[in-house]
């Protein structure tokens, strides 16, 4: 992902100097979201950076895998950063933040515990916005080939001659 290298060729230091914290996991600046340590950054085209950060956190809270880095969740939701999708997403995230406020947090991202954020999500489980994000993640996250090795899944095998010589029956603990 080229936009993971920092918007407009900014160095990590320059980038972080233009950003402010969004929850514990993200910093946002004008037109971009980044990791607090600058390890990755993503420019947004239409969505507010704060909205994108919220979406990424929401994605992780829906399908939390602690061994999977944020960059994969970013890839899973960045398709919503388009003219066609953004309006509905801004509205949905506004609803999410309103639900967070009603639960006593400044915003969704400001809720520090996963448990609190999950409670907020449970409260809007039947909402079409929640279902849109959850449904999209099923392929958006788990169908990324780069994610598969993290789970041990080996993907295509034909080009390697199948598993007949590569351990189809190598189990040794039974």
């Amino acid at each position: 992902m080229s936009d993971m290298n920092g918007p407009k060729g900014l160095t990590r230091r320059q980038l972080l100097s233009r950003a402010s914290a969004a929850g514990a996991s993200f910093v946002v600046g004008a037109g971009f979201v980044a990791a607090p340590n600058g390890a990755w950054a993503m420019e947004t085209a239409v969505l507010k950076p704060q909205t994108m950060a919220t979406l990424v956190q929401m994605a992780r809270d829906i399908y939390p895998h602690d061994q999977v880095g944020d960059e994969f969740y970013v890839i899973a939701v960045k398709g919503y950063d388009t003219d066609a999708a953004a309006g509905g997403i801004e509205e949905g995230v506004a609803k999410l933040n309103a639900a967070a406020k009603a639960a006593g947090h400044d915003s969704y991202l400001a809720a520090g515990w996963e448990r609190d954020r999950v409670d907020i999500l449970r409260g809007m489980e039947d909402d079409p916005f929640f279902q849109q994000i959850r449904g999209g993640l099923v392929t958006g996250l788990y169908n990324q080939k780069a994610v598969w090795p993290i789970f041990g899944y080996e993907g295509a095998s034909y080009e390697f001659g199948g598993y007949i010589e590569r351990g189809f029956n190598d189990i040794n603990w039974l």
């Binding site: 295509a156 095998s157 189809f168 029956n169 190598d170």
Partner: protein, 523 residues
């Protein structure tokens, strides 16, 4: 060598759909010198075209034209537009299938007699019996090259099987083996040997698994008697005023409506499309649809009692390596009402890749309860449950005129609710499946709900009496003598076994019947 037949040639047999039923029937008739035009909605996909990637393959092969759902089955909620996971391609769903090839048990041919009067079920005995089917089964096993039949050895067990077998033996199950599979298990045959690639559901790139698409269709074409027109979607079956069918209207690959004349028409579009086509062919003479004087077209839809059990262990399994369906436990397939239900079920190993596991393990689920299961994907083993479900008149395919497909035709609505017997059997199977894995140290087990249907049966069922069903013992419609049904929709009841071997055996038998009636001049 493909035979080009004229649209106006009214001496041909037209077959609609080229899957397990239609593809085999087309080849068998062509071998007997009968001229056949096979019309197939899907395109041609050869082994080299298949993709070792679950979603990409799904996009390539699956039937994605619109359908709608109703009833209390969970599929209607989680996959409302996708009641079935079946294929639109030359070869039909045999491109996707796993290859498990089992004969019905004798008592299953007479389900009504064997099980008695089950409340709410529309059980019937088949008008054929086990002895009559025996030679056709043998021919089907030889055609498909089924392992553990004839002189064909079994396949070797993969990791997923070894876990399953160890658990089964620990529980005391006896009838446990690597299955009777239409997958080549040795090197000395015309198809290549299984390379344990593990993408059987995505089309076997080695051609080790039998498919009507790359086995029967080319054989039929080589005779010069078979013409396959792919990307040709049949819209309507036509008839004359004596009530005999005369041909079909279809949309060709460019979307133009064509008319092919026919001496005989055989419908083999799988259990949603076949009744849909008969219903969409309604006319002033047949206002309820063709061959529907019994009002049975579309009714008694069966999908097998299914479900899966996945389990996580403290060590790796890597279930995706090797044949997708790598073995079977048959001990529960008997009819033994002391378990609290009639009929029986089979347990068969099954593996999904990570992308499909995420979609199907517990559709709609989220949060850590779900994701911690996937975290241990590498340590998972899995099995599929397939058992006899009860036919019910209210489980049915009807036309939904509010929704039209790309050709403007009303789509099929699929209504399904489980029978109490189905639920009792599924609960028993979940318990046994979980026990199998717990017996070898599973740390967590998952009784997984049924996927969109892969086995679709019964919507044009076979019956002795015309008022009970749509076709007779030859698959010939009770109402129209030159109209046949040739796919899984003929099934009177579903039995516990995966259906394709029986569909193929019935197609071979039907070809024999049609060819001899044609030469006797009675058709």
């Amino acid at each position: 060598m493909t035979a080009p037949f004229e649209l106006s040639d009214d001496s041909v047999v037209v077959i609609i759909g080229t899957g397990a039923g239609g593809g085999v029937l087309a080849n068998e008739l062509a071998q007997k010198g009968v001229s056949v035009v096979a019309l197939e909605a899907g395109g041609r996909h050869e082994p080299q075209d298949f993709i070792n990637d679950e979603w990409d393959s799904f996009g390539q092969l699956a039937w994605l034209d619109p359908r709608t759902t109703s009833g209390d089955w969970r599929v209607a909620k989680d996959f409302s537009g996708l009641p079935a996971w079946i294929v639109k391609s030359v070869g039909g769903t045999t491109q996707h299938w796993a290859g498990a090839s089992l004969r019905f048990q004798d008592h299953e041919w007479k389900a009504r007699t064997s099980y008695g009067d089950v409340e709410g079920a529309s059980l019937l005995d088949w008008p054929i019996n086990a002895a009559e089917m025996d030679p056709w089964y043998t021919m089907a096993e030889d055609k498909l090259g089924v392992t553990r039949t004839g002189d064909r050895p079994g396949l070797p067990g993969n990791n997923n099987y070894k876990v399953f077998e160890a658990g089964a033996k620990a529980l005391g199950y006896k009838d446990v083996h690597t299955g009777r599979m239409a997958i080549n298990s040795d090197e000395n045959r015309d198809r290549s040997m299984c390379q344990q690639t593990g993408f059987c559901f995505q089309g076997c790139k080695w051609g080790a698994k039998w498919s009507a698409g790359y086995v029967d269709i080319p054989q039929g074409e080589a005779t010069g008697n078979l013409e396959v027109r792919s990307q040709s979607h049949v819209a309507r079956i036509l008839h004359n005023d004596t009530g005999k069918v005369t041909g079909v209207e279809y949309f060709d690959k460019d979307g133009n409506l064509q008319m092919q004349k026919a001496r005989i028409v055989c419908v083999a579009g799988n259990s949603f499309e076949s009744p849909r086509l008969l219903l969409n062919s309604a006319s002033s003479m047949f206002p309820n649809g063709l061959a529907n004087s019994s009002d049975q077209v579309g009714r008694n839809y069966m999908r097998h009692m299914t479900g899966s059990v996945y389990a996580v262990f403290d060590k790796p399994v890597k279930m995706w390596r090797g044949t997708t369906m790598a073995g079977i436990i048959q001990d529960e397939s008997r009819h033994d009402p002391s378990r609290g239900f009639v009929g029986g079920y089979e347990l068969e190993t099954l593996a999904l890749g990570l992308p499909f596991m995420a979609a199907f393990l517990d559709p709609g689920a989220w949060g850590r309860e779900f994701t911690t299961a996937l975290d241990h994907y590498e340590n998972m083993a899995g099995m599929w449950i397939v058992g006899e479900d009860m036919p019910q008149a209210t489980n049915r395919v009807t036309l939904n005129s509010d929704v039209k497909d790309q050709h403007g035709l009303p789509v099929a609505n699929v209504h399904f609710s489980d029978h109490a017997n189905d639920i009792a059997m599924r609960n028993h199977a979940y318990q046994q499946g979980q026990a199998v894995y717990e017996a070898v140290g599973a740390t967590r087990t998952f009784p997984t709900p049924p996927y969109p249907s892969t086995h679709n049966l019964g919507t044009n069922r076979m019956s002795e009496r015309p008022e009970d069903g749509v076709v007779n013992k030859w698959g010939q419609t009770h109402d129209i003598e030159n109209l046949f049904v040739s796919d899984g929709s003929q099934f009177t009841t579903g039995a516990a076994e995966n259906p394709t071997l029986t569909i193929v055996a019935l197609a071979i038998r039907q070809a024999d019947h049609i060819a001899s009636e044609m030469s006797a001049g009675s058709l």
